[in-house]
Symmetry: C2
Subunit: 351 residues, 2 copies
């Protein structure tokens, strides 16, 4: 089917670069604004720039295709509004790394670590990271409203932006709660996955883009039918990579999720499927500095008990549901094709 | 002079109650929204409600009078938009208390303490407080845009809202930096005071209100000429109360700022004015768990070296500059009268 709506559409592999350019310009403007208040404040954007330069721009990409799906036209204004979602994500990552005590992010020091080196104080680093995350969150809706999209479109999309921020904070809260209780059930893990991965990463960005392009209710429903199963497939792949991923590709040591003690669906279902003594060993090993041979033993247990095959089957089923939703939803043909490709890539990626 | 513009105007002492009602309704709606995502999430608003019920609503009050000053009409929509500023402030307080390790706020446990009790974990408490502060910040612009004010007015006020959030985070960052360096100069202290007290608490709220009512540039300038000196007077009074305040009125132990080691203008100037041995003693006592007799000794040193009289004179001069700005700015007469009263009250309050 030929494209139905206004050309041009940037080729998918060049999209992240377009968002990165918007973000770099916006942050450069904030640097000038902060420096005018006080020269010391440039440190805030100095810490931010390397952190934000490395992302995959997944949420802006989905927002962009949501808009194209709805018949929207590609424009600098659309790129700017979609890029705002990366600032929400940056805020979440800075605060997450602080809460989790993660030292690195995207190959560079996490914000709290970078600030700690600046003033030779961990306490200063933590406080400054809280503030930088707050700034990114404030800057997200600033960039959204400064994008130059028509006011009525921005106001139509704003409720989706709002609900997205509430859902992600809610998902993070539940995740934190489960970590501290340590009694996660598959139902609880699925709830966190729905809020943090499916809704926050895929559904709401698509909705925001669709609303920016003035979509009708049918498209919102179709995008939801695609996003929720795909979000689960995306997270389940993440869970497998967190245990079995190739360190040279993922950039994280193999088995990292096990050492962190993450209660993923993979782990929670394994604890249900394993023989009691094996389950007991795994439960006691999770969240400890496991040796490489501990990791290997855990990997073997997960493979042998059938949970890996179960998760792979779930990913395949979720992906198939997501792709079927695209087929049964009326949308721009280029967007449909891009969303299919993004779905397959998300479900089968190796990093 | 008789009121020039649309009646009614709520009597000043009843204003905080109007904002509190908006906030209570808004948070109740968020509670329903969060509970629909997961029943555990109601804990977020359960922790928030007692914290937000206690404020003076200073920023909404200034936003309200900024709008009235510009000829705006009192309306439920204006109350809602102005109340959004209290959510920005709540976010800042929750994150400040976390960074400072303050256990109580407005007579109830600080957010991180309240969450810590919920899951019997300090780490959970800290993480959840980061998330609740993020939610309040997101909810601030949500309430602003849901206020029902006309879209063009909201968009005209939004840049002031944005710059306010950047300025307050910048001020907090500088404040944190000074605390860790411990080498504050009067110039550095004045910069923090300008950003955190003068601009964030008074100038920008007035500007937001004025923009919501469609004010012209002269009024913005006049409000700035009032706000910046008044903000300094307000902070200087705060500094005096933090050392000399009556605990039964301020709700904080006398000398609390000394025990916390705050580098206020009062303290920094005292260190310049005191005899070397006295200055050395004070410097070494600041930020330690000083006894009541240490506090009494510090109070005497501050009084005797003349810094208290100097700060009182500064407060009087700043207040006088602020009041003169009201007289020389054309604005609604009721707003002028209210801003005069607020100025005098802020400069001479005992809590």
């Amino acid at each position: 089917m030929a494209p139905r709506y206004g050309l041009p559409v940037t080729s998918p592999e060049l999209l992240p670069e377009r968002f990165s350019r918007v973000l770099a310009d916006f942050i450069a403007a904030r640097r000038i604004e902060l420096s005018a208040l006080d020269s010391e404040l440039a440190a805030l954007t100095d810490v931010l720039e390397p952190l934000i330069s490395g992302g995959k721009r997944l949420r802006p990409v989905f927002a962009y295709w949501g808009a194209i799906a709805a018949g929207g036209t590609e424009s600098d204004e659309l790129f700017a509004a979609a890029s705002a979602l990366e600032l929400v994500q940056m805020s979440a990552l800075i605060h997450d790394d602080l809460i989790d005590g993660s030292d690195t992010r995207r190959g560079v020091p996490a914000a709290h670590k970078a600030f700690a080196s600046l003033a030779d104080s961990e306490h200063f680093g933590e406080g400054a990271a809280v503030l930088l995350g707050d700034l990114c969150l404030s800057w997200a809706d600033q960039l959204f409203f400064e994008s130059g999209m028509p006011a009525e479109r921005l106001l139509a999309a704003k409720p989706y932006f709002d609900v997205m921020r509430t859902e992600v904070a809610g998902g993070q809260y539940l995740d934190l709660l489960e970590q501290h209780r340590g009694d996660a059930t598959p139902a609880r893990v699925n709830r966190v996955m729905e809020l943090k991965s499916a809704k926050y990463t895929i559904e709401r960005p698509l909705h925001i883009g669709a609303a920016l392009a003035g979509a009708g209710p049918d498209l919102f429903d179709g995008l939801t039918a695609y996003a929720l199963p795909l979000g689960r497939a995306f997270q389940l792949r993440d869970d497998l990579l967190g245990v079995f991923g190739d360190a040279s590709v993922t950039g994280k040591p193999a088995g990292d999720d096990l050492r962190e003690g993450k209660r993923t669906l993979l782990v929670v279902r394994a604890l249900e499927l394993l023989e009691p003594t094996d389950a007991q060993w795994l439960r006691s090993a999770l969240g400890t500095p496991m040796s490489d041979s501990d990791i290997a033993r855990a990997q073997n247990l997960l493979t042998d008990c059938g949970v890996v095959a179960e998760i792979e089957a779930l990913i395949a089923a979720e992906l198939s549901t997501a792709l079927a939703a695209i087929d049964s939803t009326s949308m721009d043909a280029r967007a449909a094709s891009a969303l299919r490709d993004l779905g397959v890539a998300a479900a089968h990626r190796s990093r």
